[in-house]
């Protein structure tokens, strides 16, 4: 790895990334600068007055500073980034990229940092340890892990040894689900089967917003506890539990709000355990159910471009 290329972050590295002496840069911390200044002041004072006791102390402290540099450097040397992985997030959330760090020997105070967000921890010998890097996601789509830093200022915080890591790691960013989506239209119901639209007590059909007059027994307290929204369980007599979502059902909405609504519907349908399919223009996800179906549909939403 050539130094300037690494610095500019143009080159992506392949895993595992091993911190060897060529890529670790030890530098004094701000506190280290101040500490060094004080030590230097003591050394000059001691030399000026040939005060050997002051000099003994000053040299001891200065030597401690130098040893601290070596320790910081050696604390990082040999650390390896084994893998980086993140679960998909909804737009606006922070993606947690989990870097697995490992070192042949035990280490203290290793920090994984990106911008202002840092996580500190130790490493047991030859045992992969997760370090989370929280990267905010702004838009639907994919999110690449930016270059981040692994550093340590062990043992005294006078010097920190750091190294940039730029590895390929990507996660999906799902659309941010609409907060209070309307009931899905009848068109979403599998053709030939209609819902009676009459409220009954048979099957849980969905959740609707609480309106005065709704029976208190039907309030979904679980949702209230989660989202702070008062929703009422909507029980309907239906023959079908199969849904067919289509981008076309969100008439009148721009693309992003439309995707947000579909996202919310999919989440609701998933929560209710319904089977559903998704059609986005030319793409489509066949009927399915469960976590895999949800992830597949959300991924389609994340990556959709008309």
């Amino acid at each position: 790895m050539r130094f300037p290329a690494l610095f500019l972050g143009r080159v992506q590295e392949s895993l595992p990334v091993v911190f060897d002496r060529k890529r670790i840069y030890p530098l004094p911390t701000r506190f280290g600068f101040f500490f060094g200044l004080v030590a230097l002041l003591c050394v000059f004072g001691g030399l000026n007055y040939n005060n050997n006791v002051v000099l003994i102390l000053a040299f001891l402290v200065a030597a401690l500073g130098f040893v601290s540099l070596l320790y910081a450097f050696l604390n990082l040397r040999g650390v390896r980034v084994l893998s980086v992985h993140a679960d998909p997030v909804f737009a606006g959330e922070k993606a947690r990229f989990i870097a697995q760090l490992e070192a042949p020997t035990a280490r203290d105070s290793v920090v994984a940092e990106w911008r202002q967000s840092a996580e500190v921890g130790g490493l047991h010998a030859a045992l992969a340890t997760p370090f989370a890097l929280e990267i905010p996601s702004l838009h639907r789509g994919t999110l690449d892990l930016p270059a981040f830093r692994i550093w340590t200022d062990y043992p005294f915080g006078l010097f920190y040894a750091w190294s940039h890591v730029r590895v390929h790691a990507r996660t999906l960013v799902y659309p941010k689900p609409e907060r209070e989506p309307p009931q899905w239209p009848d068109a979403a119901l599998e053709s030939g089967e209609t819902s009676s639209r009459q409220q009954g007590d048979d099957d849980l059909f969905g959740l609707t917003r609480f309106q005065p007059g709704d029976r208190a027994q039907r309030i979904s307290w679980a949702v209230y506890a989660r989202n702070d929204a008062l929703m009422v369980k909507d029980f309907r007599r239906t023959q079908t539990q199969r849904l067919r979502f289509d981008l076309a059902q969100t008439l009148g909405l721009a693309l992003e709000p439309a995707l947000a609504r579909l996202c919310a519907w999919i989440l609701l349908a998933d929560r209710l355990g319904l089977a559903y399919s998704l059609k986005l223009g030319a793409e489509s996800v066949p009927l399915g159910t469960g976590v895999a179906q949800r992830e597949r549909c959300l991924a389609s939403l994340a990556l959709y471009s008309p």
Binding site: L57, V111, V120, P155, G157
Partner: protein, 671 residues
């Protein structure tokens, strides 16, 4: 990142660092400053308590700061002196601790603690305090380590294993091992960082450590605490035979002027350098080395009479050894003296000055001297007459004499008749002057104590002494010690023998302890405290390098830095070295390597039994030795309860045979 808040543990350790740094200063700082400092520390520590005090508002802290600064200024009359400066620093540290609320504040407190600790070297350089200071650095570094532990990083998320290194054992190891690594490097810094021959900035005026020693005036009858002060003035090593204790007169200030009650130095005469050229060396020359404690005065002490002067010092016409600058730090110098020199230099000009004293004071003394002179005007006879007077009349030697009135010499000679060396020297000199014999008072130290376990003599403040010199034409200046006539023990055996003969009778171990501590101090003084640029340059003389220059310093420092790096690497390698493999596994590894060389896939995951299977189909003949070896390994591993060294040897021999076979046997073509 926003500043990390300070945890309760962080406050406690920042407090520990400040307390350790401040503690020695409480001994000498003005009492009110000490009180403010302690209150500030206590307040901040109590803030952390269950029902803590509110933090004092900013204006209160400001008021305290300004108040104490003003107080310090009026106490010391300066803010820049050593004591004033350190007092202010200490105060700053305490107030910074009081207001610290973030981790960054705590780190500042720790740094200031280091600084305040180092500054104590300006107050005292004793071995005890230095040991305390090194210990303080260890404790402050521990505080720094705690503040730097992941648990104190409230500005970061704590990972799953953030507390991996927070056991006490790990913290201590992470503290002590770096300290141990730093020690040799610190020593190399100490020895090889080039020292300054002369200060770049001025030396501060106040040498705090200097004790009340001899002064350049003497007023018998005034209270003097000097004679009961046991602290050492100097330690002396003689080359060859030392003089008898009764001949050890350490010459200090010479007092010429007498106003009837007080003796003072002569400002002109005592400043002129002596003309010693052309004097031949006598056989009675003593050579020795003096380590003088700081006195804050210009005098150096030498045996009567110095023939050489150390660098920066000169011998005056009255044989004082005077240095241009006051002795503000421990001073080590080589010195030689010639006991006969005093009388060999005749200085007739001085005789006029050594006769004057006020005619209207001490009339009875003058009357007595005149009567003696009438009997026998010869100078030596007058000296003998006066000595006989002290010896035969009822004079007493005591450190607690009665106070004297307006004519102190009269009072002493005719009524109180008790006193110590100052009284006798003053009275004798006054008598001589009245009798027309030129005389002067010499002050200094007399005697010394040979440390039984060491090769040096200690001269203490309690050995302070005053004697007389009279000028006898034809013989020059002659030393006369009237105290010897009154208390011969004082001169022959020292102050303790004369005044406190039973001092250590019941506590002989106390004397042993004092001697032992004295020897340690002596080593400390000579090896560490007096190390300077001259000694540094001569450091490598034993190795044939006469003068060490900066190039050598630079190489030594580089070697020190590299050596420390190597030391750290080796230590970490030693701590993390892989566990030794057991001998059987090592033999198997050799065997597998040989198989691989023959092209067989003998991976590390294959045990002996699998290897037997692997071998079966590959060779044209049965590899009997190899199979025997593998069965042997299995047997040794699983059949025996205990490892047997002789068995290991057998396995190794079997392996050697097996390897020979493996390399030789032809492989099946199909394989």
């Amino acid at each position: 990142m926003k500043p990390a808040a300070l945890s309760r543990l962080g406050v406690m350790f920042a407090g520990l660092a400040s307390i350790v740094a401040i503690l020695p200063n409480l001994l000498w700082m003005p009492a009110w400053v000490s009180v403010v400092v302690l209150l500030a520390l206590a307040w901040r520590l109590l803030l952390e308590g269950a029902n803590g005090l509110p933090k004092p508002p900013a204006w209160v802290r400001m008021l305290i700061t300004v108040g104490v600064v003003v107080y310090v200024f009026f106490e010391f009359r300066t803010l820049l002196g050593r004591q004033a400066g350190i007092t202010l620093l200490t105060l700053m540290l305490a107030l910074k601790f009081l207001e610290s609320s973030s981790r960054r504040d705590a780190l500042l407190v720790v740094t200031l603690s280091y600084f305040v600790t180092a500054c104590q070297g300006l107050i005292s350089q004793s071995l005890g305090l230095t040991a305390y200071m090194v210990l303080a650095v260890v404790v402050i570094t521990l505080c720094l380590r705690v503040l730097n532990a992941p648990a104190q990083r409230s500005d970061m998320r704590l990972g799953a294993t953030a507390n991996a290194g927070s056991s006490l054992r790990r913290i201590l190891l992470a503290l002590l091992i770096p300290l141990l690594h730093a020690l040799p490097l610190a020593l190399i810094f100490f020895l090889f960082v080039p020292r300054l021959g002369t200060p770049v900035f001025g030396v501060p005026e106040d040498a705090i450590e200097a004790r009340t020693g001899l002064s350049d005036e003497m007023a018998p009858g005034s209270v003097s605490k000097l004679y009961i002060d046991d602290s050492p003035v100097m330690r002396v090593r003689f080359e060859g035979t030392p003089p008898a204790q009764s001949d050890m007169y350490w010459r200090g200030p010479v007092l010429w002027n007498f106003d009837g009650s007080k003796w003072t130095a002569s400002f002109g005469y005592s400043r002129m350098p002596a003309k010693l050229d052309g004097l031949t060396r006598a056989a009675t020359t003593f050579s020795y080395e003096v380590t003088l404690e700081p006195t804050d005065r210009n005098w150096l002490f030498a045996l009567d009479v110095a023939t050489t002067a150390p660098e920066g010092a000169a011998i005056t016409q009255d044989f004082q050894l005077v240095q241009r600058k006051p002795v503000t730090a421990l001073k080590r110098y080589r010195q030689s003296s010639d006991a006969t020199l005093l009388s060999r230099i005749e200085d007739s000009r001085a005789s006029v000055m050594a006769l004057t004293q006020p005619a209207d004071r001490n009339p009875r003394t003058q009357e007595l001297a005149q009567s003696w002179r009438a009997e026998n005007p010869d100078a030596q006879a007058l000296v003998d007459r006066a000595m006989r007077h002290f010896r035969e009349e009822a004079f007493f030697y005591t450190l607690e004499p009665q106070t004297l009135g307006g004519n102190p010499v009269d009072d002493f000679l005719f009524s109180t008749r008790e006193g110590y060396c100052e009284h006798y020297a003053s009275a004798f000199t006054s008598l001589m002057r009245a009798a027309g014999v030129p005389a002067r008072v010499v002050t200094g130290y007399q005697g010394g104590y040979k440390n039984p376990g060491g090769d040096f003599w200690v001269v203490r403040q309690s050995d302070a002494h005053a004697w007389s010199e009279v000028f006898i034409s034809g013989r020059g200046w002659v030393r006369v010690d009237p105290t010897a006539a009154v208390s011969p023990d004082r001169i022959n055996r020292g102050t303790d023998a004369a005044l406190r003969p039973n001092r250590y009778e019941n506590f002989p171990w106390l004397r042993d302890l004092r001697d032992r501590l004295d020897r340690i101090s002596d080593v400390w003084n000579r090896s560490v405290l007096t190390f300077n640029d001259a000694r540094q340059r001569a450091l490598l003389e034993p190795f044939g390098i006469a003068e060490m220059d900066w190039r050598f310093s630079a190489s030594a420092l580089t070697i020190g830095l590299l050596g420390t790096a190597l030391l750290v690497l080796l230590t970490l390698w030693w701590f993390h070295r892989p566990a030794p493999i057991d001998p059987l596994a090592a033999e198997l590894r050799r065997f597998r390597t040989a198989l691989k060389q023959r092209g067989l896939a003998a991976g590390p995951e294959l045990g002996p039994s699998e290897l037997i299977e692997l071998l079966s189909g590959h060779f044209q003949e049965t590899p009997s030795a190899a199979l025997a070896f593998l069965r042997g390994v299995n047997l040794a591993r699983y059949a025996n309860q205990r490892a047997d060294p002789s068995q290991t040897g057998l396995i190794r021999r079997m392996n050697t045979r097996a390897l020979r076979q493996i390399r030789r046997l032809p492989l099946k073509l199909s394989a």
